[in-house]
Structure formats: structure tokens, C-alpha cells
Symmetry: C2
């Protein structure tokens, strides 16, 4: 099985209390695909400018990621600048330069359409809907979003969450989307809006996973040191979908295992600046932490 | 085995977005002992004024709680007034009238000293230390606290956490006590201060349980409707200690089960105003929710 990741490739400038990194490799498709690469074959659909460092492409290639769907356009690559304060919660966005991403309109190839799993990372819901219609025979689609689209394209976003198999959202976004302060109610309200399955990410507090018939809650992997939360959500989604794409039977048990693998990948991701730790993992380290996690939560 | 609960009996006036209740039964010893009464024999050590309604005493008696350690003094009972806003997080304290509680200096009887388990609910750390010295042959002691004592009697409080078997604290208090924003580090810092075991309560996000050698994390029981968070922490402690007091072997497995029973009791407690739901439970309902919880978190 293979996973198609459709999202941004970025040059990030990120400041945390532990340091500042300028124009480093980032973007939702990058975190998602590197994380998924430990579990399954991954192809990125994205766009970069002529200025995108070759070293970054080599790193992605070294993870076995198929980059044939990455368009190289005249102009500058997408750039994001953010700053985290001591509590390391949601960052303050200092600048967003869409550059070549502003007219990103992916057209899926026949190969792409045959990918069983598709991750629609955060993007304009209209663009996500367009991909959903192109990819409709896909076995499994997941979508993520951000507050901006909830505020500005709510009705389109609701079409997206109806059109995918699983909708991934963080706790603040879930509250914003549903006007429901209680997270359990918010998750159920997203199901009422038409989502088949929803994951509500709670950062250091873990996640909720809700369907019409089931409910799952897990804490996060406890970390003493978080260097850079950038990409945690996409690393989670990559691990979750990568594991599922490599699983024979999609059922409640495999979804739950996949949620824990996502949790593990997010925990590694935030332990280093940008992709430093996430890109240097191997399956043995992932299984080791998965087993530690089992011990931490069993009763 | 039996549990001694030493803390306040109160007349609470509590306002939540769902209603206001005036001079209702409350206090740490009340929530703790009612919660524990479903698991083990409980005796309260506390003080009330002549104005304490007889109906409240009858309710506690109906739960089989030994009230022979409740002194009735001239004057008014302890009163607390608080208000919760929509997010139902920590309440705003509107008034605290210590009244008869202000010169509460419990002296343990020979019977009390033979209780195997003692819960030192929130109180002046000097008073908690006095009880620790009186009760030193006890098998197991647990203590709780509040921000006020962290700010005002830090060094005495550190003696308390060294003197008990398990120290129970909420996330904000843990951060305040250790000056450590990361909760995992904060919990470990409390162990470094000399605690043998620490429980960090995170409300709707569950809890961490940390010892020198082990780490446990669990989410809370997911609730759609929280009417009144008052007493949640003491209901947790009562369920936790009540279960332990009725357990043959104290080991990591029984501590973890006890933490889940505490979680279940807190979840029931906040589902009704004051003690309405907590006092109307039975073992079947508790076991039912425990089993549901197992299903919610298993992977």
C-alpha cells in the first residue's frame, strides 16, 4: 500500500526558547511524509520554488520518499515564520509568504489516483475538495485544517469533513468549529456535521478519537524536553496514516494502534528542532517507544 | 482495612453556569469520605458548628461513615463560596469563612492511630505535620494541598510531602511548587523534593502518577456534561485511597487500578451538583463505568 501526502513544502524560520532556526526544511507535506516513510511508501504532491535547497530534497529522497509529484516553479518557495514562548503551546505566526504555493492546483496522475491512502494536509478547503473529487476511488482519505479556514471557509470545510474518511483537528479548532467548549461534545458535534471519524489532538494531553459508535482516549507520550513543536500534528498524521496504509485490516483495533504510532511519531518530532530527530529515526526506535508507551498506560 | 479522612466539612455556596446552590453539604473530608465509602470503612476527623444541618449528618451516616471523630463546636460551620465560569476550570473563590475550622487541632485516638490508611485532605501544612507525627505507625498516608500553602508555607509543605507515602497535587499547583512549566519535569521535581510517589491531577486531561522508578499516565473519563467540579479532587482521592485500603497487595498494579477508580469517582462527582450524584452511587455503577473506561483506552 502507499500513501499520497498533499500539502506544503516550506522554508521555516522558527524561534523557541531554546534557539532560532532560519529557513530550515518544513511544511506539512514534509513532516507528514517523513513520519510516514518509516511505515509505508510515500509520495509527496507539492510545489517548491527555484530557491529550495537541494540538500532538503536529498534528505527526503534518503527517506525513500517519491518526489516526482513535487513541481519546481519560478519564484520563491513558501515560507513561514513563527515563535513559541515558554509554554510551547500554539506559536505566534510572525509571517506567512505563500510565494509559489499561492497558485498550487495539484492534478493527480493515474498513479496518484491508485494510491490507497491520501493525506490532505492543511490547505484551502476548495483545493482539498478538488482533490477529493479527483481521488474519489481512493480507499482512505484524511484531512487536516487550521483556524483560518474555519473562520473563512466554514461551509467548504464542512464539505471536506464529509468527504473524507477521517478528519483531524486540534482542540482549539474543534471548539471553534462547533462553538462547543466541552471537547467530548465538540468531537460528537463534528460527527453530527457529517464526519465519519474524527481525531481531536490535544498536544501534551493526548487525543480523542470519536466515531458514531466508538470512543477512544489516550494521553500523549510524556516528554521532559520539547525543543520545537513545529510539525507535531503532521508528524502525528504521517505516523497514523503510514501505519494504517501498511495494515491489512482496517478496524477499531488497527485504528487505535495507528493512533498510538502517530502519538509516538509526534513525540519524537518535537524532541528536536525541525526535522532533526524525526528524520533520524528507525523502526527499532519507534517500536521501542511504542512498547514503553504501552507500559506507561497499562493498568 | 479502614480509612481515616482528616479535612473540612463545609457549607458550600456554589455557582456554575447551570445554577446556584446555597449552603449545601461540602468540604474535602465530605467528598473524600463519601467517595471512599463505596470501597472501605471510613471515619471522618473534622469539626462543624452548631448550625450544621442534621440532614447532612444523616446522609453521611447513611453511607456508613463513622462520624464519632466530628467535633461539634459553638459557632458557625466552615463556609466556602465559589463561582465557575463556562470553561468550568478552577473556580473563583468569592468568600472563605473558616469559623469553627480556624482552631481545628485534631488529636487522634488510639482507634484512629490503628487505621491503616489516612488521607490528609488540604489543610495548613503545620497541622498536616502534626497529624503525621501522631499517626506515624500508619501503613499509608496521602496528603493534598492548595496554592495558598505553596505560596505561604512552602518549607512546611515540603516536610509534608516527604512525610507521606503519596502526595496529591493538581497541575497548576505542581508548576507553582516546582517553578517548572513542563508537567513531567514538575512531577519528577516533586520526587526530587523528597516525595515517594506523586499524583498530578490534570482535570479533564487525566493524571500523571510518578515514582522514582515508574511513570503512569491516563486520560480522564470523557464527560459531555459537567455540572459542578467542586470536590472532584477529593472524590478522586477518596476513590483512590478507598480502593487501596481494600486491596491486599500494594504494588504498581494495585496503585494503577486505584488511580482509575479515583478517576471514575471524580467523573461521577462532577456530573451532579455538590454530592447529588456521588452520594447516590453503588458498586455496580462504579464497576460499570470502570469497565467502560477500560474499553475507551485499550489498544
Amino acid at each position: 500500500m502507499s500513501l499520497l501526502v498533499i500539502g506544503s513544502m516550506a522554508l521555516d524560520t522558527v524561534e523557541t526558547p531554546f534557539g532560532k532556526n532560519i529557513d530550515v526544511l518544513g511544511g506539512s507535506a514534509v513532516y507528514g511524509s517523513v513520519s510516514a516513510s518509516y511505515f509505508t511508501d510515500v509520495k509527496i504532491i507539492s510545489v517548491i520554488g527555484k530557491d529550495f535547497p537541494k540538500a532538503h530534497m536529498r534528505l527526503l529522497k534518503s527517506k525513500g520518499i517519491d518526489l516526482s509529484g513535487v513541481q519546481v516553479k519560478k519564484g520563491k518557495s513558501f515560507r513561514w515564520e513563527g515563535k513559541y514562548d515558554w509554554n510551547l503551546n500554539s506559536p505566534q505566526t510572525l509571517a506567512t509568504h505563500l510565494n509559489v504555493l499561492s497558485d498550487f492546483r495539484p492534478v493527480l496522475s493515474d498513479f496518484d489516483r491508485k494510491c490507497d491512502f491520501i493525506f490532505l494536509a492543511n490547505n484551502d478547503p476548495e483545493l482539498q475538495l478538488d482533490i477529493i473529487s479527483q481521488a474519489s476511488p481512493a480507499k482512505f482519505m484524511a484531512a487536516d485544517t487550521i483556524e483560518f479556514w474555519i473562520n473563512n471557509k466554514r461551509s467548504k470545510l464542512i464539505k471536506v469533513l464529509k468527504g473524507v474518511d477521517i478528519f483531524i483537528i486540534n482542540e482549539n479548532e474543534a471548539r471553534l468549529l462547533t462553538k462547543e467548549p466541552n471537547l467530548v461534545k465538540a468531537a460528537k458535534a463534528i460527527i453530527s456535521l457529517g464526519a465519519r471519524k474524527v481525531i481531536v489532538k490535544k498536544g501534551e494531553h493526548g487525543l480523542l478519537y470519536v466515531t458514531k459508535r466508538s470512543f477512544f482516549a489516550t494521553p500523549a507520550y510524556p516528554l521532559e524536553t520539547i525543543y520545537d513543536p513545529t510539525g507535531a500534528g503532521d508528524s502525528f498524521a504521517g505516523g497514523f496514516l503510514g501505519f494504517l496504509a501498511n495494515t491489512k485490516h482496517l478496524n477499531e483495533a488497527s485504528y487505535r494502534k495507528a493512533l498510538i504510532y502517530g502519538t509516538i511519531m509526534a513525540s519524537y518530532s518535537v524532541e528536536g528542532f525541525n526535522l532533526k530527530v524525526l528524520s533520524a529515526l528507525n523502526r527499532r526506535l519507534i517500536e521501542k517507544r511504542y512498547k514503553e508507551f504501552e507500559k506507561l498506560v497499562r493498568f
